[in-house]
Amino acid sequence: MSTPDYTRDEMMTIAASRLMWNGCVCFVGIGLPSAAANLARLTHAPGIVLIYESGTIGTKPSVLPLSIGDEDLAETAECLVAIPEIFTYWLQAGRVDVGFLGAAQIDRFGNLNTTAIGDYHAPKVRLPGAGGAPEIAAHAKETFIMLRQSPRSFVDKMDFITSAGYIGDTEARRKAGARGDGPQKIITDLGVLQPDPQSGELTLTGLFQGISVEDVKAATGWPLAVAESLERIPPPGEEELHTLRQLHARTAEAHKRARKLPY
């Protein structure tokens, strides 16, 4: 691999942001998804509707939130609703186009583990848990998953399914009662995977610049399926990179402010 003048996280964020569209209703989590969705809003998709599970709908934060309930999210929202409403009238009702998820582990059917490594009742590593993910995975019309790729995160056998992808195959997902189409795009730091339309098995469909199929296979804990025609994903454009870096700079600036205790 050559050394480009952008980081893998930047490429990953930009690739994800390109998959959003204007008017897309997007249920966003903190971190890379939030960066990607806000980058889309600041570039090609100004009409994207961002929903954070704190009850902030149609929010337009000036910097990236550190927590999912930052004041800036509330201040710039089209409307604020209570949390029970977010998960019922908005998510469960099928109003979300894209649900953005991360995870500690993913398997070949796009199932996600954010609960525990090892036995649930005596875990080796206790992870934070489900949060909103099981229902985002079920109800968003499609889910996008952002996850750095390694054999530790892309695992052959998962200890615990917190949130379902295709379970065992697309039919299993339908039978389990999921309404949305499931994980349609997995954006890693190496490229993009998409499910096989029949089996639901994740298949490598796009590569970032300087990444080879072998690089991705080496970072995957199962024998990775590769699409016949692989997209070579263009590197960050100047505007994309500039906008993203400005966003991160504004964010760092805002979060660096000296601690001011109340009273």
Binding site: S67, G69, V125, E135, S163, P262
Partner: protein, 281 residues
């Protein structure tokens, strides 16, 4: 409704072995009340909260908690809750039983509790392993369509504790900004303690504001800064630096205990806590 000091309110309403909900989604987390519970040494508590956050990490680390009902137990934007992990993985300082759900299920179960229903239903946990490890996640069938839906027991805490912007002299309480599940958690509870930034003559709130009338509230305690390191919209910011520092403070058992000793146990009240933090920063 009575106006009490926080010490009085916790002493009067919070007892060993009870079930408590202390809610606030990132915003308005009732930290001062949790610190007072630590000071008063409550034990065997069942705690419920969507996001245990630092507030429950502290209570768990001090051994106050025997059981927790929750849906996401991380340090938001930072990483793990080390005291929670230590309790689950190593049973220190005591084992903790988990009733683990999802955000949607927690929110619905608070609504059910507030509504006098024995359970909540949701189209949830589709394909998830959580129902296989939690007997409190069951299923029902729609009597019209046959659709299978998840069910969880209603959450009905003995005491609900929240932090709010204002109360008036009569004890009516106003919340602004992100209101989370506080109204549900309060109304699902048998007793309700509200800490507030200020007490005023009249709320003078806009129509359709989020208000708890005084007669659903057991006690109001004025505790300025009572949500720190969480925030109060329009009053003070989230102490993001503290959330980051907590990762180091809480990683080590002794370091955690020392911090609690210095900032919670050795400070008589929340004003003392804020003063000590301020002296250091």
């Amino acid at each position: 409704m009575k106006h009490l000091s926080l010490q009085q309110a916790i002493a009067e309403f919070v007892k060993d072995g009870q079930t408590l909900a202390m809610e606030g989604f990132t915003h308005l987390i009732p930290f001062a009340a949790a610190h007072e519970i630590i000071r008063q040494g409550r034990k065997d508590l069942t705690l419920m909260r969507m996001t245990p956050d630092i507030i429950y990490d502290q209570l768990i680390g001090m051994g106050c908690v025997s059981r927790m009902i929750f849906s996401w137990g991380g340090n938001p934007g930072v990483g793990s809750l080390h005291r929670l992990r230590d309790a689950v993985e190593k049973h220190w300082p005591r084992p903790i039983e988990l009733d683990e759900r999802s955000h949607a299920a927690m929110a619905a179960a608070y609504q059910a509790g507030a509504s006098g229903l024995p359970f909540a239903m949701l189209a949830g946990f589709v394909g998830s392993d959580l129902p296989s490890v939690n007997p409190n996640i069951r299923h029902i069938e729609c009597p019209f369509t046959g659709q299978r839906l998840a069910a969880v027991p209603a959450l009905t805490p003995d005491v609900g504790i929240i932090h709010a912007h204002l109360a008036d002299k009569a004890g009516n309480v106003l919340l602004r900004g992100i209101t989370g599940v506080q109204k549900e958690a309060a109304m699902a509870a048998r007793e309700v303690i509200v800490t507030v930034e200020d007490v005023v003559d009249e709320l003078d709130a806009p129509q359709n504001s989020v208000i708890l009338p005084s007669w659903v509230v057991s006690a109001v305690a004025k505790v300025p800064g009572g949500a720190h390191p969480s925030y109060v919209h329009g009053v003070y910011d989230r102490d993001n630096a503290f959330y980051q520092e907590w990762d180091a403070i809480s990683r080590d058992r002794d370091g955690f205990r020392a911090w609690i000793q210095e900032y919670v146990l050795d400070t008589g009240d929340h004003a003392g806590y804020l003063a000590r933090l301020g002296a250091r920063s």
